[in-house]
Amino acid sequence: MRESELSGPLHYLTLHEAADLLRRREVSSMELTRAALQHIHDLDDRIHAFLTLTEELALEQARQADERLARGEGSPLTGIPAAIKDVICTQGVRTTCASRILEPFVPPYDATVIERLQEAAFVMVGKTNMDEFAMGSSGENSAFGPTHNPWALDRVPGGSSSGSAAAVAAGMAYYALGSDTGGSIRQPAALCGVVGLKPTYGRVSRYGLVAFASSLDQIGPFTRSVRDAALVFQAIAGHDPRDSTSAPLEVPDLTEALVPDLRGIRIGVPQEYFVEGMDAAVREAVVAAVNQMAALGAQVDWEVSLPSTPYALAVYYIIAPSEASANLARYDGVKYGYSYTQSDSMWENMEKTRQYGFGDEVKRRIMLGTYALSAGYYDAYYLKAQKVRTLIRREFDAAFEDHDVLVTPVSPTPAFKLGEKVEDPLQMYLSDVCTIPVNIAGLPGISIPCGFAQASDGARLPIGVQILAKPFDEASLFRVAYAYEQATGWHRESPPL
């Protein structure tokens, strides 16, 4: 099929539209893959979404997918080009975590999510840029240079899954995988105008995800529609004996949840998420989104209160760095990665390996965590944070007793300028204030496009709305997200590249 016969350019089709064309043999996986790779070559000098391109592998995978499709086999993901965050291990393909310390690392195995996508005969076009070790909210902590927001190239795409969000927004891949520890899928999805899903903690295997904060990390998809997010989620979710925190639960068929009305759905809007200093356009767009959901038949309660919300950020920035300080102890220059070897002293070599191998934000978090766990401070920081974590969970549990979903903003502001917050870590941390409580409580959350803000410099910047559900109830979340999306169509917009 020629491009002129499609509703838009081939690379801006949604995943399920591309899958329909493949199944009808109107386009081949080879054509989709070549188009995606060409699009990456045309644009990525300006965006820098990718750290590694896997062109040969992608073309070989496309050939195999076409064979499978020709036999009338395959699933919705068969032959569809995807981008993978460079924190997810890919056998034989460099996996750097955007860190100098892992720059030469080639994993000897695939993450479980990669194996599951391979069973579906997916196509991997490359590994995406990110904040180093997934620590950051802007993409600027990449050791290999920042990613630019496709909607405004002088602005951040959000983080830490910066390249995955930008790649999907710019039409370089039909979907991408990211990881979300405190908002690292949902916040960049909002800032780039795409759909981003953080599944329930335990829903998707973390085997082969390079660990940042093990009690919070979760893998999820970026897509250009809610249906697409459900398709990718369905493919990667489910129990994995190789991850002891993977939940031994069946994953329901989510396509049944994709119905365009919200009658009988009870929505709660927690007041504490409309924080001081929130951008007026964000507030208006989120309120308008809730009103639209009400118009679709949902019952809305504007008076929900989660009083411990203002403490969530402090809880997170104690727990996540504490876990990180333990997880990142493995980078000692012996087993893999960068190694400083100039000194005669073993300790000096280890310290210099970590001095030159890690960037500033990673060092800050390792030091914060080391401090919070050290003798004399453990009770005041780590244990206290774990107790407040219990309170935050309990408040969510109570809210979900009489609400099916909660609806909130994703990020207090649209995309900010590159460089704006680099020197002020605490200000950077505050951009995660609406996403962090969700990881603390282990809930599923989705960010979907809900409008645009007009910046003073003329940029038109995407805004996202966040929908939360109780643990393992992704179905409710998808139902609300789908009905809203179908009624509005914000997801059909693409950046002016």
């Binding site: 403490y311 800050r364 774990q386």
Partner: protein, 96 residues
Amino acid sequence: MPLSREEVQHIALLARVGLGEEDIARFREQLSEILDYFQRLRQVNTDDVPPTAHTLPLHNVMRPDEPRPSFEKKEILANAPQRENGLFRVQAILEE
């Protein structure tokens, strides 16, 4: 309650992260500001509240202890910065 220069150096030593002179000054300021922000947790009453380490209702996940193949030695050593005779090469840890 700003961190002292010595405290920053002590944390860096515990974490085995080498720091340059300018790093010490910068991290001292930034970490102090972040630790100061954490003080807000003191306002929360957590008497009789148990800690949450993770959110899943799972405890002691077990599997049968059955032998299965492991990685080939050469696959694991392929990423080693220094190797010798099929082993990781490390510096002497014990001093004379």
